[in-house]
């Protein structure tokens, strides 16, 4: 279903939503925050919507810090949330993570309690290559609604039945002309931006040939193994589990981790199957562009370009994909 919302009605709709749900919007170039009238819609934010589903801290258990204490499970959040202004690439990131986490209780609870309302970018960002990773931003993957700005109004696609409850009287069913305009825009996008042939080549490349390829040392040379890319990535989902104890109380939390760190794979014995920085670098990209690709048919990357923009050492993901695909 397609609806039309006049652009000047956006803030009154958001205000209405914020009275019924916890509403989050992009508040600055940094990221999302609670809606308080401010909106940053110029471009995608530095932090993605991943943190709504894999938060910086996910408490699992509470316990008294003494031997023999029986921990109490922590019930996750119950509230209903709406996140507005989600870029299609970020929503796709959530959909990719969901392939792995669909049965995970905390993830499911957050996913089921959260509406994602998308906003199409006017132009691809300078470092974006979502389409090359097979992203169709019009497809609505991971989204409940998608807003496409066009001539002073939003064309709003509805992707899930549950999202009807978000619409108010300001939304009118779109006429045929609007539907055709959106379809044309989608077609034009497809014509202009195709998936990279690299993906097909990577699917066919033998796993061990990729692993043993001679280029890893050179590709990994500038990498500092700082992990910034993994925390900013909308698809990286690895986590650590820690018991935090303060005074007599403890809580077991799940928190994002990074495969770039030496401790990530180090055994209690001291043995480490990925001791060298190169091995960790290689594992990260093989996971994204081979292991995940083979298992799910898609790479674990949405081409948002954050890792390229934020890498302190200038590692360019696109160079890595291209080099890998030429094995």
């Amino acid at each position: 279903m397609l609806y039309v919302l006049p652009q000047e009605k956006l803030s009154s709709w958001l205000k209405g939503l914020s009275e019924k749900y916890r509403l989050f919007v992009p508040v600055s170039a940094e990221g999302f925050g609670p809606y308080e009238g401010e909106l940053y819609l110029e471009a995608r934010t530095r932090l993605s919507v991943k943190e709504f589903f894999l938060p910086w801290r996910e408490p699992l258990l509470r316990f008294e810090a003494r031997p023999g204490a029986v921990p109490e499970p922590v019930a996750g959040p119950e509230e209903k949330r709406v996140v507005f202004g989600v870029r299609p690439c970020d929503a796709k990131g959530v959909a990719l993570i969901e392939k792995v986490f669909s049965e995970d209780e905390p993830f499911r609870r957050r996913r089921e309690g959260t509406f994602l309302v998308g906003l199409m970018c006017r132009e691809p960002g300078s470092q974006c290559f979502g389409w090359a990773m097979g992203l169709d931003p019009f497809a609505g993957e991971g989204l409940d609604l998608l807003f496409v700005e066009r001539e002073g109004r939003y064309l709003v696609s509805l992707f899930t039945a549950r999202a009807r409850e978000l619409l108010d009287e300001n939304f009118a069913p779109a006429d045929e002309e609007a539907a055709r305009a959106l379809e044309n825009e989608r077609e034009a996008f497809r014509q202009k931006y195709a998936a990279a042939p690299a993906l097909e080549k990577l699917k066919e490349a033998p796993l061990l040939a990729l692993y043993e390829a001679p280029f890893w040392e050179e590709l990994a040379l500038p990498c500092l193994n700082c992990g910034a890319c993994t925390f900013l990535c909308p698809t990286c989902y690895c986590f650590d589990v820690q018991d935090e104890v303060v005074g007599g109380e403890g809580v077991r939390v799940r928190l994002p981790d990074a495969c770039m760190f030496e401790l990530y794979s180090r055994h209690a014995s001291g043995h480490n199957p990925r001791r060298s920085p190169v091995a960790r670098f290689r594992n990260r990209f093989l996971h994204k562009f081979k292991y995940f690709l083979d298992l799910y048919g898609e790479p674990l990357c949405v081409g948002c370009g954050r890792c390229i923009e934020e890498c302190p050492a200038g590692v360019n993901l696109w160079d890595i994909i291209r080099t890998m695909s030429e094995v």
């Binding site: 258990l61 061990l208 650590d240 589990v241 104890v245 981790d257 209690a268």
Partner: protein, 280 residues
């Protein structure tokens, strides 16, 4: 929408019913556990080769192979004291409640081994899940052909499950070869490393499977011996271990290429392992 089966990381409370110090150096202790919830305890079903996460509040969780057979009442874990959690575990007295999450992983496909000769090769304290396997095999003795076990430790004081080893040595339907690395006072059994003893025993690969658990160096030198004996990579089963956090295929710490030790393993055939990057 059909609700998917729930997966969570919530441990079940389990009481330490008995602690046995297994080795002379005191670094290995056996913990016999009973889930506090009687129903859950009765319903606990595992396959030899599977593992569980043991949990000490305030310290964390760690994966440990299940050393008891499915038929045994108490759930047995023999734990080497080596890290934060295992150190805390070793300090706990009998009667203490800890957390248990499992069974996890795949286990050995023992049904598929029916009618075959089974060779168990263990080095050091990696023997634990092979103990579970051997108890199972002996309980279903008629379903299997010859059963051979080769088990080595650095010295006699480091052999686990000594009372059982004695009983097993007396069985006519089990060939048990115990060995230690060097001559030791009071030891009149075999002397030599596991690969050498395997070479002497020379189990036939015909209609057989070999299950190998031990330190990497033992495995490295045992595999060529098995190959010489006629075992194909499809007939050799190994059990991997890697650092892991969740045990249910989410956190990705334990990956060996696309293979997740916690979910796709820990048991893997040599044939499958050869297709993976050597990151274990």
């Amino acid at each position: 929408m059909v609700a998917a089966p729930k997966k969570n990381m919530i441990p079940e409370p389990a009481r330490i019913e008995r602690v046995v110090v297994e080795t002379d150096d005191g670094l290995l202790k056996s913990f016999y556990l009973r889930l506090l919830d009687e129903e859950a305890h009765r319903a606990f079903r595992h396959v030899p080769g599977q593992f569980a996460m043991l949990s000490v509040p305030g310290k964390g969780e760690c994966p440990i192979g299940i050393a008891s057979a499915p038929s045994e009442d108490l759930i047995l874990f023999t734990v080497f004291r080596t890290g934060l959690v295992t150190d805390a575990l070793h300090r706990l007295p009998e009667g203490t409640v800890i957390g248990l999450r499992g069974p996890l992983g795949n286990g050995y496909p023992l049904e598929d081994f029916r009618g075959k000769n089974v060779v168990l090769i263990a080095g050091g304290f990696a023997v634990t899940t092979l103990r579970a396997t051997l108890v199972y095999l002996l309980e279903h003795r008629d379903d299997y052909g010859e059963i051979t076990m080769i088990y080595g430790a650095r010295n006699p004081g480091l052999l686990l499950y000594k009372p059982e080893l004695k009983a097993w040595q007396e069985r006519k339907d089990l060939k048990l070869y115990l060995t230690v690395d060097r001559e030791a006072p009071g030891w009149d059994g075999l002397v030599g490393f596991v690969p050498q003893i395997t070479e002497q025993v020379a189990p036939s690969g015909e209609n057989a499977v070999a299950l190998v658990c031990g330190p990497p160096i033992m495995i490295k030198f045992t595999l060529p011996v098995l190959e010489k004996c006629g075992f194909t990579p499809e007939q050799v089963y190994l059990s991997l271990e890697n650092r892991m956090r969740c045990g249910i295929g989410l956190c990705h710490h334990c990956n060996v290429g696309p293979f997740l030790v916690c979910k796709d393993g820990p048991v893997i055939t040599l044939a499958e392992l050869k297709k993976l990057p050597p990151e274990y």
